[in-house]
Symmetry: C2
Subunit: 332 residues, 2 copies
DNA sequence: TTGAAAGCGCTAACAC
DNA sequence: GTGTTAGCGCTTTCAA
């Protein structure tokens, strides 16, 4: 077994209580004894056992992060922001991929609780009743990122998704687009990405443009969705001069489909993306998109969570960060 | 405090030992008592405290993963593979971003040890002497992914980087390229990516092609590197008809630079990438690249690590997975 | 300023 | 088949 606090105590000729005190910078331990202990720690190469400490203090200094899929494009950035902040405050993160699978999600939640994480960063599906109850039962301090629960019970860090899509649609309208199509996720699913459609709808309606069933396509948020969406529009033979997408990957798929079918972007059709993932400015043409501050969402959420965990005041329960349109070359 | 094993014991009218036994499926606990215990567990909503269990068993069922940066393109995929396997065996992962920073790395290693992770998946820099010693001192069961230590002390899962670059270069040669440039990482750094240059060199030499200092560029592995590399080549006024890149992002940057300077890919210059990240087939033109099985690297490594942790035999110490060239549209 | 000892929640050796 | 108990490594109260 590794060297424990006992060994240090023996080596330093003091009690384990004293060792514990210097370990935790507590009280006024006599400078000399302190030095003895420090020396012993060094000599023995002692490192405290955090599991034991956690059992006693009921705090593990680790935070659970639940994401749908770390190998998709937006989450790594958010997680990175979160981890950086966690690291500053000496927390570590346990990463879990839910795949939007409720059962997997529940199991993770339970295990996270069993492992006594101090808090949870949740960015999977929009929390519905059942999950809310579970999180409550589990009594996990939770902050939602890029999503919200219906009732706003949990603190959250998001952007205004509806407004963001409204803005991107409006951007196209202001540029003179008349027939604007939409590609996004299935509407049955309840999450932030889903809501984006509403912004599109609103912008069209408010600006006297017609909603055309043939010019919207609901599926996922991957490249394939964008590609298929365009093919569907083309098949419908309806004219369209712009496409609003609810992710950058969709935009890429859309642009590729357009190109494959002999349409030029942005000359024939403008395409606007969403999120501003790294690749959107590497793609050709560079994608005009509405940027959400992914890294910041992660870091702000983690900062808030850590405050919550330590029972500090948080200034706000719901952070709504700014989005902004990044003009590049996919819209004319 | 949450409900503990004691509460369950009391509720079921048995001893905590018995509860522990049914929890761990041990011995032949009488079916009736077992039922009583199970009922009590259910009634009380009891969930074992894994921290306490870990302290006792000295196993935490969690694995540390050290990556340079989860928000870069290849690691999410590897981590995803690793997490999926971990999940199957009821392990969780603690994710750490090292940024190739030795100090950060060492600190993480220490904390991971303090938190008693059962093992470590390491995919940062190629392990050099100092880090090796630390890992040894810490006595962490370790598997390296996408990298190796000089002496091959640690088990590893990699591809044959040199051969892979050799193959991609050879591919270009076979297609008739005569003046082949190279863009990759700085040669001072010691890691897998760095070695890739050697494969390029070897292919040129073995095939009677000349190495031209003006036609190689060493910097990083991001898009920018590829872009700058091309500009340097162009400035040198040397002719080149193909570019070998040690990452797909480099290839993207290179292609963009070529386009910006009026060169067509692949008509004027062929460009081959490395890794086969998702985006390489979304990019325009679709990138021909040598694919490394990222997800598999992660999952195989995790499987091996879990075996090691459980003192099971591993069939192999060093897995070298197959790479293969994926032909798309960036080479003629 | 320091030490003794209880106890965090669990497993496992030992006894019955 | 079941219970008692020691102890994993630490923090913290209480007493000295």
């Amino acid at each position: 077994m590794a060297v424990s606090i006992k060994d240090v105590a023996r080596e330093a000729g003091v009690s384990i209580a004293t060792v514990s005190r210097v370990l935790n910078d507590i009280d006024v331990v006599n400078e000399e004894t302190k030095k003895k202990v420090l020396d012993a720690i060094k000599d023995l190469g002692y490192r405290p056992n955090i599991v034991a400490r956690s059992l006693k203090t009921q705090r593990t200094k680790t935070i659970g992060i639940l994401v749908p899929d770390i190998s998709s494009q937006v989450y790594p950035e958010i997680v990175r922001g979160a981890e950086d902040v966690a690291n500053i405050y000496d927390y570590n993160i346990i990463l879990c991929n839910s795949d939007y699978d409720m059962d997997k999600e529940k199991e993770y939640l339970r295990v996270l609780k069993e492992k006594m994480v101090d808090g949870l960063l949740y960015m999977s599906i929009s929390l519905e009743e059942k999950t809310i109850n579970l999180v409550n039962d589990l009594d996990l301090k939770t902050v939602l990122v890029e999503t919200k629960d219906e009732k706003g019970i949990f603190p959250s860090v998001t952007i205004d998704d509806i407004q963001a899509l409204y803005d991107s649609t409006k951007y196209l309208i202001d540029k003179g687009a008349k027939k604007i199509a939409f590609i996004g996720t299935k509407q049955e699913e309840v999450n932030a990405v889903t809501k984006r459609y509403k912004g599109y709808e609103k912008a069209l309606l408010e600006n006297g443009l017609e909603l055309d069933e043939d010019l919207r396509y609901f599926d996922g948020f991957k490249v394939k969705t964008g590609y298929n969406g365009i093919e569907k529009f083309l098949e419908s033979k309806k004219d369209f001069d712009a496409v609003v997408c609810s992710s950058d990957e969709i935009a890429m798929g859309a642009i590729n489909a357009l190109r494959d079918h002999g349409k030029r972007v942005p000359e024939d059709v403008s395409v606007i993306g969403f999120s501003n993932i790294n690749m959107s400015e590497v793609f050709y043409p560079k994608i005009t998109t509405v940027a959400e501050p992914m890294y910041d969402m992660g870091s702000i959420a983690m900062r808030m969570l850590i405050k919550l965990v330590n029972k500090k005041e948080v200034e706000q329960q719901h952070y709504i960060l700014d989005h902004k349109i990044v003009e590049r070359n996919s819209c004319k």
